[in-house]
Symmetry: C2
Subunit: 255 residues, 2 copies
């Protein structure tokens, strides 16, 4: 049995805690948070602590706090020479205080507390200072998911940036699409089959092959009509740069 | 039995022809194209013609050509007072030549010839000059799909623009994400669970609720690190404007 302590109270901390709590072969020893945990944590049976003095011995300590708080919380932990990992995609391994054995345990997924996820399909990206610790993390990760990946800090930075485009920015485009449709009393549901197909296509085609639309055809007439329809400057800029990027992508191809 | 002629050879023409050809209650009378049809059309048993002189009598003529060719082809058709519809999201009803009864039959989906689609889940947006023609289109559309929608030209313009954001631009963000990941030898597959979850979330949360990431948190440190990682100016501009748009969206909320 591998004993784990989770440090944090956010979306990632919640989903990791819930999954660890429910998994076989692992004990979620404690959850530490300075602040009160949200009601979502209520169905997690593990001990919840609010004081650093109440820390117990675990095999792995997972820091799952906002990126810019990792360094500070890691230095305040009452631990020495323990395996302490963080879950932040954009934070290097050595941001964690060197008084402990450092590692990274980065689940590549978007988490919201109100949306359950199937953790077994989530890629976990691992990094560790020491080979023995990497073995421990490989074991822990393999309990939680089928997709365990050893990824160095430079690769992880790239993944985190790519994930921004693939998830954060994509979701924001859905937000804009909804705003445009609903302004004309068109329900967002009408766009959902299109959105599902956009992703389903990736099972058969690369994004390069799957591209359609006026920018790909360099159809300036439609592009100008669309620009004229957009009211907000920031949406106009987005439309312009996204179209420009598509046009450049397929111009390169023609050369 | 409703008899239909399809005019065009592109992605939409192919998928509409294939679906009409396979459907009960409808006869795909002819497919007209000036140019030779691609091999994809080989499994469609309907008559294929290349000359306007070979046109036969149908109940509905569906023009499915590129947006800027709709007007011209509609004026060249050897037809008078027939029901002639086009499939273009961004083209108004009256772009079609007035010598025929005009309408729109716009399937709201992204089509690539090499990717089969389930037509029965695709919203079809209908518009017609005359009520009797609208009835014919409602009947025809209901043979093909469960989602039949009467949508005026102004709404359709908005839908087409929204679809650009929801599909064209989203797919391009996947392209960029893939490029960023593969540059560091990270396979695109690693991002696919994240992409699927991005869309799956929409079954439970609005895009506004589903948003996560550094821009939403206004985490300038991560935003600056990401900007520094991006090499191409067009990607930097995209990153900047997408982040800006997210920040503005959640700032408004705070006020």
């Amino acid at each position: 049995m591998i004993k784990v302590t989770v440090i944090g109270a956010g979306n990632v901390a919640y989903h990791i805690s819930k999954t660890l709590n429910d998994a076989d072969g692992v004990i979620l020893n404690q959850i530490y948070s300075r602040n009160l945990l949200s009601y979502h944590f209520d169905d997690i049976t593990s001990e919840k602590i609010q004081s650093l003095e109440d820390f117990k011995e675990s095999d792995v300590y997972i820091i799952s706090v906002s990126d810019n708080a990792v360094a500070e919380i890691s230095s305040r932990l009452p631990l020495q020479n323990k395996l302490v990992v963080h879950t932040a995609g954009s934070v290097p391994l050595d941001a964690t205080d060197a008084k402990n054995r450092r590692g990274v345990f980065y689940p590549l997924q978007t988490f919201s507390k109100d949306k359950l996820v199937d953790f077994s399909a989530i890629p976990i990206c691992l990094e560790a200072e020491f080979q023995e610790d990497l073995e421990i993390l490989l074991h822990l990760a393999s309990i939680l998911t089928k997709s365990v990946n050893i990824i160095n800090s430079e690769q992880r930075k790239a993944i985190h940036l790519a994930a921004c485009f693939a998830n954060n920015f994509t979701n924001h485009l859905f937000y804009i699409a909804q705003a445009i449709a609903e302004e004309k009393n068109v329900p967002f549901e009408l766009l959902q089959p299109l959105i599902r197909e956009t992703v389903d296509k990736l099972n058969f085609l690369t994004p390069f092959e799957a591209q359609t639309g006026p920018a790909k055809r360099n159809d300036m007439n439609t592009l100008n009509n669309h620009m004229a329809l957009l009211q907000k400057d920031v949406y106009k800029n987005l439309y312009k740069w996204l179209s420009q990027s598509i046009i450049e992508t397929y111009e390169r191809e023609k050369l």
